[in-house]
């Protein structure tokens, strides 16, 4: 029986991340021995592919930009085709600390989807105004849908167990915000068990969270719409879920 890490695929969607992707891959492979790391190049125009290969990752090249959702679907499909049980999504910009991964994988024993949540107090992640309201509204609705308390629903740091991998390989949404909001709704409605654990986030190498109130308001609108449509769509069943658990 291969070890837990050997049965795990780290998927990193990468779009023009040549500056950091090599370091992130190296860190993942060093801190998580035995793990496989797949960088999905999302139509980058820079040297991301070469840098990721140098770091020792497998690289899937998308011919054009599909967004995080499309890139993640490639990861889920690859995991399914190559017999990986678990998929962990890690950002290629280095803001997720791979040392949290073993803890997330441990939680997959009893859950199908583990979110790594940025908690207040960890790091300097603060939000105000419409963006904060958006986060509050989203966590309220999604907590109710997922029947568990979720505080950071837009976190891209998440681990999926075998059932979620099978579900997502087929149904991971590719729309804007689909990879965060709608994927949670799909998982919750397919009766996947969702939990969150606190993780510390590092400051992104290049970029400060936007505080432009207009952008934040637009974000609130789009997020609300994405959530509404996600809840209106017919739920997708998880096929032959009984024989797994």
């Amino acid at each position: 029986m291969p070890s837990l890490l050997e049965r795990t695929l780290i998927v990193m969607p990468a779009f023009n991340e040549e500056a950091v992707v090599k370091q992130v891959v190296l860190e993942v492979l060093e801190k998580l021995p035995g793990v496989s790391c797949l960088v999905v190049d999302d139509g980058s125009s820079d040297n991301t592919i070469a840098q990721a290969l140098e770091g020792g990752a497998l690289v899937a090249r998308l011919p054009f930009n599909l967004g995080v959702g499309g890139a993640m679907r490639v990861g889920f499909r690859y995991a399914l085709e190559h017999g990986f049980d678990n998929v962990v999504q890690v950002d290629s910009d280095g803001q997720h600390d791979p040392s949290s991964v073993p803890e997330m994988l441990a939680r997959l024993e009893t859950a199908d989807l583990v979110l790594g949540a940025r908690f207040a107090g960890e790091g300097t992640y603060t939000v105000r105004g419409p963006r904060r309201w958006a986060m509050i509204v989203l966590s309220k609705f999604l907590s109710a849908t997922a029947r568990t308390r979720l505080t950071d629903t837009t976190s891209g740091f998440r681990a999926s167990g075998p059932r979620a991998v099978r579900l997502f390989a087929e149904h991971y949404p590719a729309e804007y915000l689909g990879d965060t909001i709608e994927s949670l709704v799909i998982a919750a409605r397919a009766k996947c068990v969702i939990v969150q654990i606190p993780v510390s986030m590092r400051v992104r190498a290049g970029g400060v969270p936007s505080h432009d109130p207009f952008k934040a308001a637009a974000y609130l609108g789009r997020a609300t719409m994405a959530l509404m449509f996600a809840l209106m769509r017919p739920p997708v069943p998880l096929h032959n879920s009984e024989d797994v658990r």
Binding site: V40, L58, A60, L62, G70, R73, V74, Y78, E81
Partner: protein
């Protein structure tokens, strides 16, 4: 209505139908996309040849000014065509996305097969 406007109406409808049929004939337009245009062209031709039909239809539904019925039907047809195009576009986008995912996965597979087939000089 003068004779000139009568002829103008009939010719316009015929021209519309001719364009749609010609494009269908050259396979530049598939039947499923041409249906609404064919219906619109045929309606325009009927009303062009028998203007009384329009007045009769307007009275039947209770539209006071028959011309308003023309505008309403035109807008409805355009609306349906637009909706159909948006749906087709969505379907096409989904298909290209799946194809893009497939090429990425195939490329990985080819890479793996090539690595297995050609022994590396350092091994």
């Amino acid at each position: 209505m003068t004779v000139t406007t009568y002829i103008f109406g009939v010719l316009s409808a015929l021209a519309t139908l001719a364009v749609v049929v010609e494009m269908l004939r050259r396979r530049r337009l598939r039947e499923r996309h041409a249906v609404w245009w064919l219906i619109a062209g045929t309606l325009a031709l009927i009303i062009g040849v028998f203007p009384g039909v329009l007045v009769w239809a307007a009275n039947l539904i209770g539209v006071e000014i028959p011309l308003n019925l023309v505008f309403f039907v035109s807008v409805a047809v355009l609306f349906l065509v637009c909706i159909q195009h948006s749906a087709e576009l969505t379907a096409l986008e989904t298909k290209t996305r799946i194809l893009a995912e497939d090429t990425a996965l195939h490329e990985l597979r080819i890479q793996a097969l090539e690595n297995a087939a050609t022994p590396r000089p350092h091994d």
